[in-house]
Amino acid sequence: MSQNETPTLELVGINKSFGAVHVLHDVDLAVHPGQVTALVGDNGAGKSTLIKCIAGIHPVDSGAIMFEGRQVHISSPKDAASHGIEIVYQDLSLADNLDITQNMFLGRERTKGIILDEASMEQAARETLTKLSVRTVKSVRQQVASLSGGQRQTVAIAKAVLWESKVVILDEPTAALGVAQTRQVLDLVRRLAETGHGVILISHNMNDVFEVADRITTLYLGRVAADVARSDVTYSQVVELITTGRSGDLGLAPATAAESI
């Protein structure tokens, strides 16, 4: 696919320790515009830590974060946002008592003088939902309390898109959803990529991963076990990579995989 262009976000040799525990070992990861990169791995493989490093919540010990080919320093969530990196967390960060537009602009309201500029915010919210071809919500003035889990996830993702983000990181977006709602969210993830965003999808659900991902990056005990195109691997190979760190000639060398344990 677009392997030849510069990745939007590239991590090179990231290391991170918490005290004596070495959580991330020389992790490399590339996120290309228009691609969905699935980040998979068992619990404790380091997915969340890696995301928090990108988000600026944890500083990295060594290694470089490259944004559009330039090395950048991300030391706070604000830095991440200023580079256009938006993270949609698993536990949704929406206020139930506000409507969709109000939630999408929360903390970054547009104003005219001291008065909220409702008109321009409503229009922008509507445009964003249109861009993502969202057809599941009735009105941008609907209260979030009245939305289903899938619709909430949709709003949370649309909120990330609103800020001209280039990389959107989704932390288990379908974890708590039913079948139809999962469908909605996966469609939305695909459209995110189609609109030129680089997407990192964290998921435990292999069906979801195989459905929307272009590349699959497997973490095994803090190391990248494999970074492969989806078409090159099978379902069971990925499961094997997640559980043992290797599968046939893919994955970590036997010695490394064993040493990590």
Binding site: K78, S93, A95, N97, L98, Q102, L147
Partner: protein, 433 residues
């Protein structure tokens, strides 16, 4: 309601923005609601537990009919209605301040005594200091602000539960008021301006002028907004509903002014009539609070913190700052309420605001529809709830009910309102997702 032409006129006006906008792909989006869908949506909201001020309005109607039935001669007399209105003023102002605090799901148990202490500061400055009323009022408001700042800091920064902090202030501030005024003492308030607030009326012509200005301004604002929303293709209420809202507000404002402008003197030789001076004060506070809560970034953030503090924090909102500020606003409005109460009673006593003042105000806010769980409430809840509380107080007074009965009934009402709030919340969480 008033539905002559708006229906067809609107669908015509609506077509251009819907078709020419680039966002027609977002097809399921509804922008303009018809009267029937507006009513349908309202029905859905009611069923899902979002009752708003409806129980309070219903309760008010029942109380008025009840007291009118029991005391037909006196309850609806112009004299008593004017009296009821001045009774409601301090409660409503105090409740308006509490709405800010309750919006965060916090509570301020010291608001009543904060109003008393602030009023004591004002009275002392007027009498002992011989100060001008502006200085005294300003000092009272600064006192309220300072009390609120300390409470806010303890709640927001030290993170002590607000009910503990304000319970401590409830006791402590009574001590300060006692020290200021002296045991068993009373400070009379003789200042003309302060006394006029609750005891004097505006000239009839001025009352009418202000009433008409208010109605015209409200109508113009509503119509202008509807027009602008229509021009930009934003979601909006149907014209018929906007007109109906204007008509209802006009009837209430004009009706109240008409009643208050009649001569209500018991003796025919003098004229006693006009809108009490306190009414425009309450109106201004109400408009300012509504504006702050609904139209400013600050107000939006108050709702956000009340709805989901973690989401607000992640969105970069200073949760600590918002928490502190609501207590400052609450205590400052409490100070103003204390001044109005001092005006009504003509004096300040050491136990001012210590009795049922606070429960009346919390009751007013909650009866009006503000949730004790945070995130839901409006400034107008305080006004409507304040009227309900004042009606109970006033009606029971006319019936010559014993004081114990008054406490029991008001307490019962507060409990009833809180139950409705809790049940509605349960219903919301059951149907919300």
């Amino acid at each position: 309601m008033s539905t002559e032409t708006p229906q067809p006129a609107e669908s015509v006006a609506d077509t251009p923005p819907a078709s020419d906008s680039a966002d027609s792909a977002f097809s399921a989006d509804t922008r303009v609601r018809t009267v029937s869908t507006a009513f349908h949506d309202y029905g859905v909201r009611l069923r899902s537990g979002d009752l708003g001020s409806l129980p309070a309005l219903f309760g008010l109607a029942v109380l008025v009919i009840l007291f009118y039935g029991l005391r037909p001669g006196t309850f609806l007399s112009t004299l008593n209605l004017a009296n009821l209105l001045t009774q409601a003023m301090p409660v409503s102002i105090l409740a308006m301040g509490l709405v800010f605090v309750l919006l965060l799901g916090e509570i301020d148990l010291s608001a009543g005594v904060a109003s008393g202490s602030s009023a004591a500061v004002m009275a002392k400055l007027l009498i002992d200091g011989g100060m001008n009323w502006t200085v005294a009022v300003l000092a009272a408001m600064v006192t309220g602000l300072a009390i609120g700042a300390v409470i806010g800091a303890l709640v927001a920064i030290v993170r002590i539960p607000s009910f503990v902090v304000t319970l401590a202030f409830f006791l402590g501030l009574q001590g300060i008021a006692l020290k200021l005024i002296g045991e068993g003492g009373t400070v009379p308030v003789h200042d003309n301006v302060i006394n006029a607030l609750a005891n004097e009326n505006m000239p009839v012509w001025l009352g009418w002028t202000l009433a008409v200005v208010c109605v015209v301004a409200f109508a113009a604002f509503q119509l202008f907004r509807q027009q602008r929303q229509a021009a930009k293709g934003l979601s909006r209420n149907p014209m018929a509903l906007v007109l109906a809202r204007i008509v209802v507000v006009a009837i209430i404002v004009i009706g109240a002014t008409a009643v208050l402008s009649q001569n209500r003197a018991r003796v025919s030789t003098i004229f006693l009539g006009g809108v009490p001076w306190g009414v425009p004060l309450v109106a201004v506070l109400f408009i300012v609070c509504t504006f702050v809560l609904q139209r400013t970034t600050y107000g939006r953030h108050v709702y956000a913190v009340g709805g989901n503090a973690e989401a607000a924090r992640r969105a970069g909102i200073s949760v600590v700052g918002i928490r502190m500020s609501v207590f400052m606003i609450g205590s400052m409005l409490a100070a103003i309420s204390g001044i109005v109460l001092a005006s009504r009673l003509g004096s300040v006593t050491p136990d001012a605001g210590a009795g049922n003042t606070l429960l009346y105000a919390v009751g007013a806010a909650v009866i009006g529809g503000t949730s004790l769980f945070g995130g839901k409430g409006k400034a107008r809840d305080a006004i409507i709830g304040g009227l309900v509380i004042a009606t109970i107080d006033n009606g029971l007074g006319l019936l010559g009910a014993k004081a114990y009965l008054n406490y029991l009934i008001t307490g019962g009402f507060l409990l009833l309102a809180a139950s409705i709030d809790a049940l509605a919340r349960r219903r919301r969480s059951a149907t919300g997702r």
